[in-house]
């Protein structure tokens, strides 16, 4: 049997970690209040996020941030909110940098703890949001009003389980469960085991609670209604694949519960160089990283990966699967069964009874690319012709040349490089990730 009490204590922050976060929070809020007062800025700091709700995890599982929102009145001008909000942020975080995802904010460190200072507008339940992040303070208020110490334990168990299953994180590249969604699920289902039972026993799309299924025409794999906006699905970012992963992990846990379901966030290294005589071919396509955040780059990189994959599939190279890494470069890994295709390519023509059949015969009978035929198979014309692209590298290059690969990646096409990762050390981590792909990996 599994001792969930012991797991709770292992996934919760240590006393030292809690103290340190509290110190940093107090320090930042104190300085912020003084700054606002001194500069006559009409805004109020609000400490939000899992570390302020005591639903964060031990540092070894996931590092905790301190998130402070600066709440401006609803009649403040957007340019003032931006100007004074960022100024306050820079005052608190002298080495902080401005970030713009959907919204400007300042990000920096105090005593080694990551701190975000985020300006926003005040908003009450039922009111329209003005900036992209205004709802966050309301979410935080709601959660703090319903959380108990018991629920906090259950939330920590569930979050560790989600991380271990590889489905935690709502960033675009992850398409998993946000902190908010994880906490709402436990609030509504009451416990970690209740949630696991729920997911393990459901098929198809899921709603929590069940009665919300299909509300407002949501066709998402998961529906978790936003507590401050009942027209919104807070879990819209969760992909079908991540729901499938979570269901599978829940079923495996129910069948055979063990502590390993909470601590599998570290991938075991695979000796893929000696184990990888798969008889296949690997290519890493490398593009310089555009100066944008991951959430902007990732969809383009993913589309790029899919474009290349589909192109190689249509061209007959039999791609096996692929991987992505976005770090200092954008890396797309492709594995294919074939590297060199035969010269001859079968080309299916129209049915004999089609009006185009004569043209097909005339065209191919005199074509220099004709190898054999035209001949008839069943009721169709066929011809065997010279294949235009036989080589894997040529095919990839050609695909990149003729296809748009995304607004920010397109200007960097010229700098594309192709590597055989088997011959290059620096792709070992990407290859290791790829080769050890398991039930919890994307």
């Amino acid at each position: 049997m599994i001792d969930l009490y012991s797991v709770v204590s292992r996934v919760s922050p240590t006393k030292e970690e809690e103290d340190r976060i509290r110190e940093v929070t107090d320090l930042a809020v104190g300085r912020l209040n003084a700054y606002l007062r001194e500069n006559n800025i009409n805004a109020v700091p609000a400490v939000v996020g899992s570390s302020s709700r005591n639903t964060n995890l031990v540092h070894s599982l996931r590092s905790s941030d301190v998130d402070i929102f600066l709440v401006f009145p609803r009649d403040a001008r957007m340019e003032d909110l931006k100007k004074f909000g960022l100024a306050a942020g820079h005052h608190i975080l002298p080495e902080g940098v401005e970030k713009y995802a959907e919204h400007p904010y300042v990000n920096g460190f105090i005593n080694g703890i990551k701190v975000d200072i985020v300006p926003c507008y005040a908003m009450d339940k039922g009111e329209r949001k003005i900036s992209a992040v205004d709802r966050t303070v309301l979410h935080d208020k709601y959660l703090k009003s319903v959380l108990t110490d018991d629920l906090r334990k259950e939330i920590r168990l569930f979050k560790a389980f989600l991380i271990s299953a590889g489905v935690y994180g709502s960033e675009v590249s992850k398409a998993g469960f946000s902190g908010l969604v994880s906490e709402l699920i436990i609030v509504r289902l009451g416990s970690f085991l209740g949630a696991v039972q729920y997911f393990s026993s459901r098929r198809g799309n899921i709603a929590i609670p069940e009665s919300d299924k299909g509300i407002h025409g949501f066709h998402s794999p998961l529906v978790v209604m936003d507590p401050v906006d009942d027209t919104r699905n807070a879990a819209a970012a969760v992909s079908t694949e991540n729901m499938a992963r979570l269901k599978m992990q829940c079923r495996l846990f129910v069948k055979n519960p063990s502590e390993s379901f909470f601590f599998r966030n570290k991938r075991e290294p695979v000796d893929w160089r000696s184990a990888s005589d798969r008889g296949t071919h690997f290519r890493v396509i490398e593009i310089p990283r555009p100066d944008e955040v991951d959430d902007v780059i990732y969809p383009q990189a993913n589309r790029f990966r899919n474009v290349v994959f589909d192109y190689l599939e249509r061209a007959g190279f039999l791609p096996v699967s692929s991987g992505i890494e976005i770090g200092n470069e954008v890396l797309v890994l492709i594995e294919t069964e074939r590297k060199l295709l035969p010269l001859v390519e079968r080309h299916t023509g129209p049915p004999v009874d089609s009006p185009n059949s004569m043209d097909f015969i005339e065209k191919w009978t005199s074509s220099p690319d004709r190898l054999r035929g035209p001949y008839i198979e069943g009721d169709r014309l066929m011809v065997e012709r010279v294949r235009a692209l036989r080589d894997l590298d040529e095919a990839i290059i050609n695909c990149v040349k003729v296809t748009g690969i995304g607004k920010h990646l397109d200007p960097l096409k010229e700098d594309l490089k192709m590597h055989d990762p088997v011959k290059v050390m620096r792709f070992d981590e990407l290859m290791n990730q790829y080769m050890s792909r398991g039930i919890m990996d994307s």
Copy 2:
């Protein structure tokens, strides 16, 4: 413009050929009558076939036989018909051999001309046939009653055109137009050009006359009603592919008529050894020839070819196409794009929501054949496993081992041999046929 008069004279038998056939016919019939009289056999010889109707072709296009049926009264016992019929045949053809296709007969040569002596039962229009060949004499009578010298010329043009298009011959391996069907088409459509116009302008299934289309529920690509049995489609043997070939040839002829459409029965040799760097792999599978006629062997050989082709397709070897030759051995030629497949094979599992998903994970997690996974793609489980059959030769051998390849071929499985025809001279003709495959080739 094309001079059809000149073509008629080129495709008709020479005076010498006609004389020789008449001499052989007279000799055989004379001897046969004497033999029947001397032995008190109650049967009447009937000379049938295209050489007796003057619808045969010049020897260089197709050699002519002399077909003599021995017509027994309808109350004769089958064993007497067989006994006396074959005895008469052996008397006329001392070196002749007995053949059993659907029916026993004697086949031999007189002065270099092939002669068949075939016992059958008398039959009048509307009567039921007793043996398989009884209708032939009636067909011959019908045709002789309607043929004119003009129609004979048109028939010869049409037959030469059909041979050139590769669609003449009703034997099982050919699935083309019999002499009877060719002659009926011209009798009904009036002329060679009429027939060509007819075929070139029709789509889908065809009936001659049009009004017969779909009669009695025939769903054949071609319906030509039997003149002595209006419940029978005389053209049932014609395959969809051969109809497609004929239509295409007719369209090409109508667009650009030339004498070459009558004299393409000889295939031009292709220098395939130097021209054939197709980047593909060839195998000839050789099985000893069972002691049976082509019409018995061919369907089995063809099924064998299809079984191997489909097996290789499913196994991932990407077969291009195939050929058959039935001579002293049964030869099946297969061309594939791939010879060695990678070790890794993707295996698609059940959807995550399926009741089998847990078993799939448990089975593969502990399987020694597991290479990567199980992992989730979309809503499905996938695993990469060790491929059982990677090598083309192994795969063919395995296919033959595990599959029934036909009643007469199965006992000869043990003697199967496999060759790379690129390295063996004696398959040059088969390879040449294969490599020069064109619009009129099967």
